[in-house]
């Protein structure tokens, strides 16, 4: 019987290795997986690359992981949220690398990785400082830049409800990066608030089908 539910949080991230690319869901705190990120902090994995929209706030969750020194690089769109002090300090002392990606390009690059798209052309960032090293190309006489898929080794996402197949639904705007990161990673681990019996989630309502989810952890 398929059962993706993992009982102990330390078993969710125990196979993360040095140098892994971690996709961390959330837009600010909405949809962020603090307990999985903190479990990752307890492992021996280091030199991690974290892909997320932000670079953590205050001193918990993503900020704590970054502060632990395990993260070599952050790929994100907006690391300057108020409260993102741990990242900013490490950035200023050059202890952490930053790849800054426009928010829509970040989410589209993740989608491309999950969808088998090697590269795509977007108008976003054309002509800007963020495109100086990007390949350009015109379609219908409008300029686009080439962007590449961005694949993760692990996605740490947060849902509302799951079942043993790993089907997931989200709550309101906490959906944000969850569905797209789940598809873009080799291994996807979901923290949820509730686990229900198979068939209890309306099939029309399922946002992330279990095919994209490897482990489910119930955070009470």
């Amino acid at each position: 019987m398929i059962n993706k539910v993992i009982n102990f949080v330390e078993d969710t991230v125990s196979d993360v290795q040095d140098g892994a690319v971690i996709l961390a869901s959330g837009f600010g705190n909405a949809g962020a997986t603090n307990c999985l990120l903190e479990a990752l902090m307890e492992t021996n994995a280091k030199y991690l690359t974290v892909v997320a929209n932000n670079a953590g706030e205050s001193d918990y969750g993503l900020a704590a992981l970054i502060g632990s020194g395990k993260v070599s690089k952050v790929i994100c769109s907006y690391p300057i949220s108020s409260g993102s002090t741990i990242f900013q300090k490490l950035y200023n002392t050059k202890e952490i690398d930053l790849e800054l990606v426009p928010q829509g390009t970040l989410s589209e690059r993740l989608r491309a990785a999950g969808a088998g798209i090697g590269g795509f052309y977007t108008r976003t960032s054309v002509g800007s400082l963020l495109a100086t090293e990007k390949e350009k190309r015109k379609f219908n006489n409008i300029e686009y830049v080439l962007e590449y898929g961005l694949k993760g080794d692990f996605a740490l996402i947060r849902g509302k409800t799951a079942d043993r197949w790993g089907n997931i639904i989200y709550d309101k705007s906490a959906r944000n990066f969850g569905p797209i990161m789940a598809a873009a990673a080799t291994t996807t681990i979901a923290q949820v608030e509730q686990i229900v019996k198979l068939g209890e989630i309306d099939p029309e309502l399922i946002v992330t089908p279990g095919i994209y989810v490897d482990k489910v952890y119930l955070k009470k």
């Binding site: 837009f27 600010g28 705190n29 909405a30 949809g31 929209n53 670079a55 769109s77 907006y78 690391p79 300057i80 949220s81 990242f87 900013q88 950035y91 200023n92 930053l98 800054l100 990606v101 426009p102 928010q103 829509g104 390009t105 989410s107 589209e108 993740l110 989608r111 977007t122 108008r123 976003t124 960032s125 054309v126 002509g127 800007s128 400082l129 963020l130 989200y170 709550d171 309101k172 705007s173 906490a174 959906r175 944000n176 990066f177 969850g178 569905p179 797209i180 946002v207």
Partner: protein, 230 residues
């Protein structure tokens, strides 16, 4: 003196009010973080406008009553909001597909500078002491059908923000349609700043002296007369 100086131009609520008048029934509108969020408060009551938030909301409503905030229902500025009847949620990639695909009618953005050809600078200053951050600004600037800019006419140091060319790094090129400042409503047409409205406390020459590029008076020029909104 101080109160007189304040009265020369519009306050932020009045600029927001002016922008709100420009948004027609049924428009899909994204409001940038900060002052542009005020625009939602001044939509005429008989007009139905659907607000988009790039973190995955259509039909976003006003701030909740105190005590009714939900951390999972926030806007792009990460502040608690509500959802109107008819609203919906979607993931980030779908949300930016909506933006980049040209489905948003109007986006109201703040700006550091706007050039006379419509170039927009609103994501980075020349200060390198902090890491850079771009968020959705570049996606919005190229994706929305119309870009409105809401900004002060001058910087805090009385430098012009309407320029021949931006000195700050650009977000998008040739994208701004109309700039709404505390002093004027200025359309961009054929790489010219066309003054459609300005406050009556100022002469055109005075407005020009506060602007870093030539201004042209519109054939349809009107005085900008907002209601009192304190």
């Amino acid at each position: 003196m101080n109160s007189q100086k304040k009265q020369m131009g519009l306050n932020r609520r009045q600029v927001a009010w002016r922008i709100a008048q420009e948004i027609s029934e049924g428009s899909y509108v994204n409001l940038g973080i900060g002052s542009p969020e005020l625009v939602a408060n001044y939509i005429p009551e008989d007009r139905e406008i659907i607000f988009h938030s790039e973190n995955g909301i259509l039909g976003m409503g006003p701030a909740p009553r105190p005590g009714e905030e939900n951390g999972n229902l926030i806007n792009a500025g990460k502040k608690p909001v509500t959802l109107l009847e008819g609203g919906s949620y979607f993931h980030h990639t779908d949300s930016f597909a909506m933006i980049r695909g040209g489905h948003i009618d109007i986006c109201v953005l703040g700006a550091y500078q706007v050039a006379q050809n419509g170039d927009l600078a609103n994501w980075a200053t020349l200060d390198t002491s902090k890491p850079p951050g771009v968020g959705g600004a570049m996606d919005l600037s190229v994706g929305a059908k119309k870009i409105f800019v809401m900004m002060d006419h001058l910087t805090k140091d009385n430098e012009p923000k309407l320029m021949k060319t931006c000195s700050y790094p650009e977000t998008g090129f040739g994208v701004v349609k109309t700039v709404f400042t505390d002093l004027a409503v200025i359309d961009i047409l054929d790489s010219k700043f066309i003054v459609r409205e300005m406050v009556e406390t100022l002469s055109f020459t005075q407005l020009q002296s506060k602007t870093g590029a030539p201004l042209t008076l519109s054939d349809n020029f009107k005085t900008l007369t907002p209601p009192n909104l304190d």
